[in-house]
Symmetry: C3
Subunit: 341 residues, 3 copies
């Protein structure tokens, strides 16, 4: 997959983009406008970086036709240069490509179905009745529980854990340390002690789902936990049992979604946002970082909570007043009455 | 342990509950009132779901005697139907049961004591002088450090890590990716640089403790980190060194407890709550999600902090005023003086 | 490394400290002033514990010369007793020391360079062209990706994951479950769907860096993610792609740093603090716990945000007023106008 060198003409063709300049220019790498050296291709995605066009040493730039006149060098013209960069990035990815086959140190159940095109890494464990798709990679030290199903071309990095009965779609990307299908946090209290409830639902991921490093997605209590197509979860995210996430959502690091909450599609959650359980959020909800959601959200839009950092000296004065807010509001009301009277 | 089918009479007997209806009804699964199909048993734990009783297709329902007259079908009557469901759930749990014995790919020290009834999974590592109880399961790829002691019938899911000298009680349940006994975060600063302090205390868990996926519990600096009986910790929880948690506490995902803090018994902490170090919280403290605790709590009760999500447009206006709160309060005082004067 | 017993005179010599008392006193352990038993050495780092000096049963105490007259027993006198304790703690650390050599169950590439002094634990995986320094320990079940470089005397606890091309300095300490070099969270949106961007930068750690249990440090998108010398990261910390952290910072559990943010040196971040992406924080910034930073910080000092826990009853009253803050402020302004008018 990785190429050390591509012709600029081939790059434009692969991106379905218009070429301005010499197609035989040899491109050997990808970099930012500022860091690029001759032989590399750069891109302009954010117009505020346009000032770097004048100084870049890149041999070519992926750029929108709308600003192409600001750059005189070789250019690959397309409406979404960031998408062009994303596509091209895989051509210059130095990540080793796993060889097909089952490593002799892996422990694989005789009942697992593994095609010749799949790669099972060293020290991995594949349990009974697992079904693995074409071209799937299971990284070193991963454990795949009984009856899991992994869709074609899914890529599991080293040390991933799937408990039993986890089903993932095609082209999913599961990063190291992720745990899918672990028991949901369900207990019944009887006379002050907590009694564990067996979690007998599954985890179901659509196609093209990304699960970040050390992220956890719990299996359902009775029904399933369901993650839609194209959902992207960053590192250290917690998805509790019976959560349902719609297609094409993106959640940054440390987001937490409590049990049985339903999230619409195309939502974007900033880092460390937390959504309480048993809620429903509609499509296209955008949460800024550290937002605390404790009620349903029925309208698309941007939502926030919390307060920004201040000097500790100022913050102390203000935070103590927060505890007096209701009484301050009543005093304002009182003043207004007096002035009206 | 898993049965595909049970007689309704046997279910009532096992739950110590009263049966209303035909004891020979065959029950083949467990589901919610809404999702149940004929042959399954459902339950009514939350009275607000009572409206689903009329339409359920379940063959029987676990229900409190106090609302039994709202349902005409076969019923298992007990005061705490949710506890009945919890108990019964294990009968229909499809999780594979680990076979006793040491998998040939495991690496086990000759000095470890492992009874025949225990199960040591593939690729696991058991270090010197570990003592493992009857019926214990150590999941695939787990690493158990020197001198650890695991009480009878404790269940460690795949890829759990215990550093050396971790002691856990009976029937503990440790989920994948959990790390117990890792070094506490202790450093001495000398001339601007941090110098690591060896963490020579242990981690001690009582009986019936649950530790969630990718949760971390650090060993003590000098004394031990201690988790009481029946404590339930969800995923991605952080318990720092020398913390002491009383019996039967439950902490939801992403809770953090800083070093040397002591938590009473029967506390319930909502997700992403954070408690500062060197504090003491009494029994029966309930924190709502994302609460920040920076001082001792001496009275049982429910505590909260933070602000809920608002539209970003409204939030921006209010959050900027938070920085003026102290001055606003002073201006109210001034107005009051003027009006009195 | 571990000694069960040391002469007090040797302790003072090793710490470069002044001895007051009998050098032949045998010291067999280390404890707090309160917990120490005869034969153990204790320390007084925090002056507020000075009251325990009178009752301690410790055979000797590490203490500052400035308060030495408050204690009549054997003493080791040095200006920074906490540093003395830190240094001495390693002498009484019961952690097993890994034997040099490659465990037969490890899977090691023929192209990896591993000196005789290094220890590769059971079930570990070392991929192609890895370069390992003198005295390095790779814990059981760890996976080290292609072309990683580990500096001399670095210690990796069990079940650590390094993706390819991670470079760490000397004497680093990486705790269990940590994931270094996992893919950064980078996607281009095209017509509503997210397209993954290959992350082709590296992770670079300086010397003496600590990475906590289950902490994640992502590789850079194009440039590298860089962690300076002496940085200490606690458990469950998230460091996103292209972050740059200056020397000797310390970050407590659950801190999150979003992408491309640059942190100065000697910063200290309390637990669960979150810093947004693309920001710059200067040197010596101290964040109290749960602080949310959404803008640059240009001045050293202590910063905070959020509100402390209150009873739920009081909090509800005040939190609802937060949503009215801007209108309350306008009403105060109105009142002031009327009174002036």
């Amino acid at each position: 997959m990785v190429k050390s060198s591509m012709r600029l003409g081939d790059i434009a063709a692969e991106l379905g983009a218009q070429l301005r300049g010499e197609p035989d220019i040899e491109i050997t790498g990808l970099a930012t406008l500022q860091a690029a050296t001759p032989g590399q291709i750069a891109f302009l995605a954010n117009p505020s970086y346009a000032r770097h066009l004048a100084d870049t040493r890149a041999s070519a730039v992926i750029i929108s036709p709308s600003v192409a006149d600001k750059f005189t060098g070789a250019a690959v013209l397309m409406d979404n240069p960031y998408f062009g960069y994303a596509t091209l990035s895989h051509r210059f990815d130095p990540a080793p490509v796993a060889a097909a086959g089952i490593h002799p140190s892996a422990v694989v159940s005789a009942s697992a179905r593994i095609p010749d095109s799949a790669s099972i890494g060293p020290q991995a464990v594949i349990e009974d009745d697992v079904v693995i798709g074409e071209g799937v990679v299971v990284g070193a030290g991963s454990v795949i529980g009984a009856r899991c199903q992994l869709g074609d071309y899914s890529l599991l990095r080293p040390r991933v854990t799937f408990a039993h009965d986890v089903v993932i779609g095609r082209r999913c990307h599961i990063l190291s340390g992720a745990v899918l299908g672990s028991d949901g946090f369900g207990f019944a209290n009887e006379k002050g002690a907590w009694h564990r409830i067996a979690q007998i639902g599954r985890v179901i991921l659509g196609d093209d789902v990304e699960v970040g490093a050390n992220t956890t997605i719990d299996r359902g209590a009775l029904d399933d936990t369901v993650i839609g197509n194209g959902v992207k979860l960053d590192n250290l995210v917690q998805i509790a049992h019976n959560v349902n996430i719609g297609d094409h959502c993106a959640m940054a690091g440390m987001v937490g979604i409590a049990g049985s909450t339903r999230i619409g599609s195309h939502c974007v959650f900033g880092g460390a946002s937390v959504v309480s359980g048993h809620l429903t959020l509609t499509d296209q909800v955008h949460l800024t970082g550290m937002t605390m959601v404790t009620g349903d959200i029925t309208e698309p839009g941007v939502y926030s909570s919390g307060t920004g950092a201040d000097t500790n000296r100022q913050w102390r004065k203000n935070a103590v007043r927060f505890r007096q807010l209701d009484s301050l509001a009543r005093r304002i009301k009182e003043l207004e009455k007096k002035l009206e009277g």
